[in-house]
Amino acid sequence: MNGASLLDFARGPGFEVAVAMLAFGVVWRLVGILALRRPVDHSEPRTGWGWVGGLRLVFSRSWPRREFRERVLHWDIISYLFHIGYAVAILGYVPHILVIRNLTGLRWPGLPGGVIAFFAGISAAALLALLGHRMSSPVLRRLSNFDDYFSWLAVFAPLVTGLMAYYNMGDSYQLVLGLHVLFGDLLLAWLPFGKIMHVILFAFSRATTGTVYGRRGAAL
């Protein structure tokens, strides 16, 4: 398969299957989780506003607590660099916006290519640092499984091939672009089935935890 046919496949049937898997997987997991029976809490509620704790936790967990700050703050910052850089690259680059417009009809102004490349570069560097940390930390290494490494790859591959396409690296632009789109398809298809699903589930899990502990009067 040459670059042109790879690009055709990635933009055509590959993308269609990826979007179908994304829609299927996201709804399956959300419905599957939300339709589960919640355990009945027989304890006396300390407050009638438990849901406020849930809402609060969605945001308060976005920053490390004072007790842990010294140990993990720099990794949190690197993680933020990755997430923000990735979001800017996806949502700010005009060719990506055109894909979203094609699917949803929504559109917004894009950013210059140089700005996108800067953020994408930062994001890629942060991802590499985070992988190094995961592999060098004995605790994280033990906690990590196939899902963690494959999800890292699914996130990193479209980023690095996108940068390669932007800077015209590699023998064939079409091949690099085809790989970029194909890895983008892989990311969409894998998203609901691995840990990357946290982009949607983080709010649900934090809100649930916050509501339960808020009801019990825990400090959040």
């Binding site: 055709d8 997991r29 419905v31 339709a35 589960l36 005009v94 894909v99 102004p109 290519g113 672009l177």
Partner: protein
């Protein structure tokens, strides 16, 4: 006559030494060669034997030949066709019918093994090539015979190079490019719909002087097809700045912003349009306000639409249908999984209450 050198032919035509040197410098510049190569070209053209060129046309629209004969540097084109020797071209020559076929056979026999064969158009394979016949002979057998005596084959135009329009889905005549048929001779693809006239003549001149040019993986000469349209496009700074025309008559279009959103295929198209340009160097399609169609790339008719941006999905699938259907299937699966999980939850609860839960026995 075929033993004459090019310099001798030009001298007979009244070319002065100065005019000959100017011609070599012009051709060298057109071929994007270094200035030092002009001297080399002069030396080689002086001693190079006059080549025989045979031009065959199959499934094509004659647009390539139109482009060539309307070249903005007629000196170069006429040099090739009048002076260097175009032994056969059924569209341009006065002879027709048996006289034309006989002229072709004679020219081929005379220069057998040495002539340059130019092919314009794709070749159909099914029904023993019955969809395209010339003088009662199928294009495929005609091409095989002609290629057998050629030193090299130049496939001019996207139809000859990659199949072009006849090859487009559903390819009713089973057309194939020249390189699918000619496998034992060097094939140079000069793609484009049509190719730029100066590129065609430049390739012939290069072959005459230096032999086979360096080719890319699609067998196109790298001195003309080495860069993408996007790489050399004067609108590229607007792409980099994220400034795009969104319709053909909006403010962006008037300001000359990038045409990517209007479907420009420049980033994946390799050709010399931005540097050689058309119509005497007047402009090229993007300069005239139209996105690049990608006509020098294989299968450009079937790339999902000329006006569809390069990044967006191709195919005519129903977005709402696919996404909605997949989401509905996901919801059903999610509910089924939740129902199973709920029954397990109930069973575990019952076991805990009755004290039969082996995993979590009552203390």
């Amino acid at each position: 006559m075929a033993d004459e050198t090019i310099a001798e032919v030009l001298e007979k035509r009244g070319f002065t030494r100065r005019a000959f040197l100017q011609l070599c410098a012009t051709v060298t510049a057109a071929l994007a060669l270094s200035p030092a190569d002009a001297a080399e070209m002069t030396r080689r053209l002086q001693s190079a034997p006059r080549p025989t060129v045979i031009y065959l046309s199959y499934q094509e629209c004659t647009g390539c030949l139109e482009s060539l004969t309307r070249s903005f540097s007629p000196g170069l084109a006429s040099l090739i066709f009048n002076d260097i020797s175009l032994a056969f071209n059924d569209t341009l020559q006065a002879a027709a019918g048996e006289a034309a076929e006989s002229a072709k056979d004679t020219a081929m026999k005379k220069a057998w093994g040495k002539y340059l064969l130019i092919v314009d158009g794709s070749v159909p394979l099914p029904q023993n090539g019955a969809y395209c016949t010339v003088a009662g002979r199928s294009a495929i057998s005609d091409l095989k015979h002609a290629a057998g005596g050629a030193a090299a084959v130049v496939a001019v135009g996207t139809c000859a190079a990659f199949g072009g329009l006849p090859y487009a889905s559903p390819n009713p005549t089973g057309a194939v490019p020249v390189s699918d048929i000619v496998r034992d001779r060097p094939v140079i693809n000069v793609s484009g719909c049509p190719p730029i006239a100066e590129v065609i003549t430049g390739v012939i001149m290069y072959y005459t002087t230096f032999g086979l040019p360096a080719l890319d993986r699609l067998r196109r000469p790298t001195n003309f097809y080495g860069n993408s349209i996007h790489d050399r496009c004067y609108r590229r700074p607007f792409y980099d700045r994220g400034l795009f025309a969104k319709t053909f008559d909006d403010e962006g279009a008037r300001q000359g912003w990038c045409l990517f959103e209007l479907g420009c295929k420049g980033p994946v198209t390799h050709n010399a349009c931005p540097t050689m340009k058309w119509n005497g160097g007047t402009s090229f399609p993007i300069e005239s306000g139209h996105p690049c169609l990608g006509c020098s790339e294989p299968g450009f008719w079937d790339k999902g639409g000329f006006y569809r941006p390069l990044s967006v999905p191709t195919g005519h699938w129903s977005r709402a249908g696919v996404i909605g259907g997949a989401a509905a299937a996901g919801a059903v699966t999610g509910l089924a999984v939740a129902a199973v999980a709920r029954s397990r939850q109930d069973r575990a609860q019952k076991n805990r209450q009755s004290g039969t839960d082996k995993k979590n026995p009552k203390p």
